[in-house]
Assembly symmetry: D2
Homo-oligomer: 346 residues x 4
């Protein structure tokens, strides 16, 4: 049994890790931490865990934690992660970090979008943990930077087109929509039920969202050249789910059927990517509670653009499920272990 | 008092007309029709109307209706509208038609997207009823084609940019999101609560939605040249509201502040268009239950694109409220009469 | 024009007063206060008010406010209200207080459920402002204690049965369900969208909710004897609405039809109480956005109990709408002025 | 591997069985039927199943099905079930029936609430499948009548009190609230998103719901005497979940702490019943997606009543999860096999 600690267990990605790992046959959770709720039973903070988890939340003391765990998930806000991850690595632990702190290769980019990086050399060592793109590197990594939720949906949605150079990289527009859990569990008026329910809004309009550099980094690698995208996030009155509608202009004549065939070939053998039949498009409700990324697309013959639609559960394939998938790869477990749950529908 | 009939009163736009006109001081509703529910009290079909409306739903017999009403709202599905509107006009009645039947100037376009038109000559006579663009023609019209919900949000969102030729008309992408009431009140599995709740999806992907020709017609008129747009509608788990996120490439250097200034000047004096301050963006929850169209925008300096976001209540500014606004204009009433309600928030 | 101040305008009942009074022909809002947001434009705090209200939120300085207003709504938390209401009264202003501070006749009861009362003599002077029970006293009052949301639904639901002594007062159980806006606008984890959405829970189980003494006071007056009730509140994932399901044992043989007839007679002439036909029961969605209280009932012949179901919009008939109704009565305006809006459905 | 057929697989309980059994290590689904959708791939009807289920829906031909399956779930409407269950039994198959057809012991009761029973002798043979009350009989049964959703929540909530004769059986009132999936997947206006969202209503008021005889049968057995209850169901705008608030008058002095202790003892060792600590009460969101029944209670010292609150996921512990639990018992599998998923929260 792999002894696992979850650092930052009182947020939504933390409880989601606990939920997923409860049914994982190779894992034992030995430690959970929370600065806010240290001393409380985890089942008091999350009554969903009652009668299945008897753990008490602890303070974040890396050395003490490392004593009891061989594998660490850090589910902390950015900056808080880079304050402790190096210690875990020094102590010989392997880490999947769910924050943004080790996703960007370039410390200057990190500084431009966040703040100065505290351990920039680790950026070279960490692996951007999108299994469908980088499975082998993940297998050998000590530090995996778990991708952001929006980036997962956009990168998986565009990878085949960019890899095959079928679209003009200068034309990409990603219009993304997220459920509210993406905003976390902190008490803010903006995220109150009555502020969100029965409404829909855009935010970060005009290229302001911090997931942009991460998306551009990975898309540029796929395209083999530096690109920039227009990206607009939106807030949907639902708990979970991200759907990205992505527009681009093909470099040559293509049909929906051809592109779908290409996607099916590209993602051949992937357990968690499903390419939909022509004329079908994803819904977040068909992936809610699962680790799937569903992708559909259509070529708009009137305007010549291709429109790709991808959907994930932001807390699973967009966070904790992908983190478990990375853990499985890093430990030689079957990649789908503990991740086979189908979407909860309705 | 203007004697008003509502033809097709058992759908959501019908009951919304009744709701709005209950507080209109110049209107008396004399007749409501419904093929499905003829013989039933309107308050049985819509218990919200109890104790305020004692009308009984009637069959659609145009001549009998015309006897009792001087002004007609036709809130019927397309095709059903064009079967009766000519009769009302012949009988000297003025009509606001909420269907798609008289919105397109070109009968061939109507045929391409719908079916052969039954009275194409009326297309020349009808006025596309977007008051902010065509107030004077509406005032003198006998037949006003009330705009669609998506088109209202997109056209108002782009009018200043196109009119001033500030964007390349070939680059327009409108990514629109609608509440569920836009799908009407007919019993379909797809619109069941459990199919829609807590999920988000795209539909009509690839240029398939019937509102496209209507949007293109009006945008082309504004631009002074024929244009085509990419348009993708989405379904949001909420009752009401449309938010359109619209992307375009400016023809020259522009700033967010300049464009907002332009918008404020363009919509100067408009009772129902609100241009938001820089850095603020609309939410459908801020227009829910009102006749407002809220518009915000930002220039994305990284990609050079401008992003316009517009929000309306699809049943009010996107349907019945705009219909009442048109009725007010056609009858010389103050344009905001009966339409001053602020958004119901929360 | 009546010059009106709203003290505590940055909460949900405050903005609802502004929304309702925007369409009230006899009122001019001259002053709005908020300790948290003083100095901000009210339309910045509530974008729904944009272009219609230009007021800036002020600090709560009673004397300065009284200079500019003749009528005061205090929409403050309990305790905060009793700190300022006496000053407004001394300055000759008439007040509708939306807090709990002047609802209970008995200062000891107030102390038992809240804390020591600061001006207990005012409890005799204030009038419990349920217009359907106490219209004449309200008309002459300087201080009206606006009823709580749950109490409004329960008292209106039971008044006819108790007044006519048709039920055993010892058998009353009120199982009430409220939308989330009843919890106010303060930032608490419990009221976050993701904590509330798609779930349902009870709270204050076992007779712990502070609305109990208020309900019992009014029901006891109606019954002519002291009574106690079982009351359990619940939280529904919706913005607005309260529905109370009330059980009691009749003292003799009764039928649903007879009781409905009694209710119709009792509420004869009331503008805002609607008694539903036999076999029909209220839904909060049929009163959402309106000042109505809808009531239905059935006698359960199997168990001999009567079940009354009442529904209101908690922010309107349960708060701000009733406050405006009281203001209308106190000022000799038609009671329904500004309150004729029908429910926003869907 | 147990070969399993799901008869009536195109409804919500059918797809929920498929979802749960996908992760069950001892089961192979060999056959799924649907009269409406025969010939379609199950993954076309439920896109959540894509890439994991390749089954095609078949017509309901019992003999053909029995050839390929050893264990049958009938997830059909009442009446449709009793048309086929006898055939499966004759062919030597074991059946869990999710309809109401074999739940009542008394054919006259069935006739009074439904219609004449077609095979009343089977009523003696079938076992009412609430594992916590009747585990051993279930183990040996060929036909298990899977309990209704409301009954599961009410019976589990009251069993300890009635068994120990601590309450007066004549005083029971169960006020229950259900998510919309309980209404099934058929296309009805009443269940459209816009009719349900953001609203709350009672239905079947006055003792009209068909789950009443089932609840009374089981509670009477527990109490050792015939009893009747008041039961009012309500519709909550959420997908899943039932919460029952149950009132009763104790026969003697009791405290919350004593009763909770009793409940913990009564349900000692039960995998799926969780008794909450004093002062905590269940929420449907804490059981959503799980097979748990959470129970909390309080004695209201003011009125002397006890209030029990129980919560389940209506599609899992209230239907398909309990059906799998029964299947596990009938086949000697560990009772929690395939049922260990924790609630999906948020």
């Amino acid at each position: 049994m792999l002894k696992v600690a979850i650092v930052g267990a009182s947020g939504y990605t933390g409880v989601e890790l606990l939920r997923l790992l409860h049914c994982h046959p190779e894992v034992a959770i030995t430690c959970v931490t929370s600065e806010q709720s240290a001393g409380k039973a985890i089942s008091e903070v999350f009554p969903t865990l009652r009668s299945r988890y008897n753990l008490v939340l602890e303070n974040l003391e890396p050395v003490r934690i490392a004593d009891r765990a061989d594998f660490i998930f850090t589910a902390l806000p950015h900056k808080a992660a880079m304050e402790v991850v190096p210690t875990f690595l020094k102590l010989g632990k392997r880490v999947v970090d769910l924050s943004a702190d080790y996703r960007l290769r370039d410390a200057k980019e990190y500084e431009a979008w966040y703040e100065p990086h505290m351990n920039p050399t680790l950026l070279e060592q960490s692996v951007y943990g999108l299994p469908e793109l980088r499975r082998e590197k993940i297998a050998g990594a000590d530090l995996v930077a778990n991708p952001g939720c929006y980036p997962t949906s956009v990168i998986l949605g565009l990878a085949p087109l960019l890899k095959k150079k079928l679209i003009d990289p200068a034309t990409i527009i990603a219009d993304s929509k997220s459920g509210v859990s993406g905003a976390g569990r902190s008490a803010k008026v903006d995220n109150l039920y009555c502020e969100v329910n029965d409404g829909f809004k855009a935010y970060g309009v005009g290229g302001a969202h911090r997931h942009i550099p991460e998306i551009e980094q990975e898309l540029s690698l796929l395209a083999g050249k530096q690109l920039k995208i227009s990206f607009t996030p939106h807030l949907v009155p639902m708990d979970r789910g991200i759907l990205s509608t992505i527009y681009a202009t093909p470099t040559g004549a293509v049909s929906s059927a051809e592109l779908l065939e290409l996607y099916r070939a590209y993602y051949q053998g992937e357990a968690f990517v499903r390419i939909l039949p022509e004329g079908s498009f994803p819904s977040t409700s068909h992936v809610r509670g699962s680790n799937f990324c569903d992708i559909g697309l259509a070529v708009d013959n009137r305007t010549g653009r291709v429109v790709v639609v991808s959907a994930i559960d932001n807390l699973i394939k967009g966070a904790s499920g992908q983190a478990v998938q990375n853990m499985n790869i890093m430990n030689g477990f079957p990649e789908n272990l503990g991740l086979e749950a189908l979407a909860l529908f309705p």
